[in-house]
């Protein structure tokens, strides 16, 4: 049973923010307003990270997603021709509904299965979350530790380099 305390109230507010923002993105006819709704949604996600005792991820969420990705999206919106009024509506309603229901089903499955556990063990025991909470310092050590995340870490920089080169190739294509 869900207990009503500060945690659950905060979660309810943030969930409404996240989902409401998401709905705003999907239902809005104006691309720029859609981008703003996206920021609301992402802000809700940042709040949920805080609830999960992951303040570092929350700050990253705000810094990278709201402060950077959202800016990029607004820039991209401004690059398009008709940003304020989309011409014809996307009308394949049946296909849309089928895809939505399937997606919802898969997400539900993905959420429920890990909680149930495969062999009857439950993984939703959150009585001692403090043990799972890593500090930023531990994260820093783990990132450069040869036995932990050093390879993904270096690959991440490779990925960023690829993105940088991709951006210049796309943006400068027409000039040569």
């Amino acid at each position: 049973m869900i207990e009503i305390n500060a945690q659950s109230i905060a979660f309810a507010i943030l969930a409404v923010l996240t989902l409401g923002g998401g709905l705003g993105v999907v239902l809005n006819r104006n691309l720029f307003r859609g981008a703003i709704w996206l920021m609301v949604s992402l802000f809700g996600v940042a709040g949920i990270f805080v609830l999960l005792s992951a303040p570092f991820l929350a700050a990253v969420q705000v810094l990278v997603y709201i402060g950077a990705i959202a800016i990029l999206i607004t820039f991209a919106v401004m690059l398009t021709r008709s940003m304020t009024n989309l011409g014809e509506r996307f009308v394949r309603r049946t296909a849309g509904i089928v895809v939505a229901v399937l997606l919802f089903f898969f997400i539900l499955l993905g959420t429920i299965l890990p909680v149930w556990g495969v062999d009857g063990t439950r993984y939703d025991d959150v009585s001692a979350p403090a043990e799972n909470v890593a500090t930023t310092r531990e994260l820093g050590v783990a990132l450069v530790d040869g036995n932990q995340f050093v390879l993904p870490f270096e690959v991440a920089s490779l990925l960023l380099t690829a993105a940088m080169i991709g951006a210049i190739v796309i943006a400068r294509e027409d000039e040569e």
Binding site: A58, V64, L72, M164
Partner: protein, 119 residues
């Protein structure tokens, strides 16, 4: 608990929004309000506005934003490392050095390709 640490921030957010809104409402009450066609027209140096106010922008702005995102993500990786740097061995420094070097290659490529020219 993270929630308790962040609760004051949430309260501050609410309070700041309320104060700012009150100021706006006060100015709405005390200020006159007589909009006319000419007054509400977009300002265009006194000329009649030509075309829509929002229009497409040059791609160079977009390129700057992409460059920014890449460095923003890079710096996120630097933060935990900076916090832990006192406890790490020289190897840790080497790892971050390689990380930076790979990015630097892309950076120099972008530079040489003219991605940072503003024309």
């Amino acid at each position: 608990m993270a929630l308790q640490e962040f609760a004051p921030i949430g309260a501050m957010l609410l309070f700041a929004i309320i104060v700012a809104s009150i100021v706006l409402v006060i100015s709405r009450i005390f200020g006159p309000h007589h909009p006319t066609f000419r007054k509400t027209a977009p300002y265009e140096s006194g000329m009649k506005p030509i075309g829509p106010g929002t229009r497409r922008i040059p791609v160079k702005f977009y390129l700057t934003a992409v460059l920014f995102i890449i460095f923003d993500v890079e710096v996120i990786f630097f933060f935990p490392w900076a916090v832990a740097s006192r406890e790490l061995s020289l190897l840790g420094l080497g790892v971050i050095g390689v990380f930076t070097f790979i990015l630097l290659v892309g950076f120099i490529y972008e530079w040489k390709k003219g991605g940072m020219e503003w024309e």
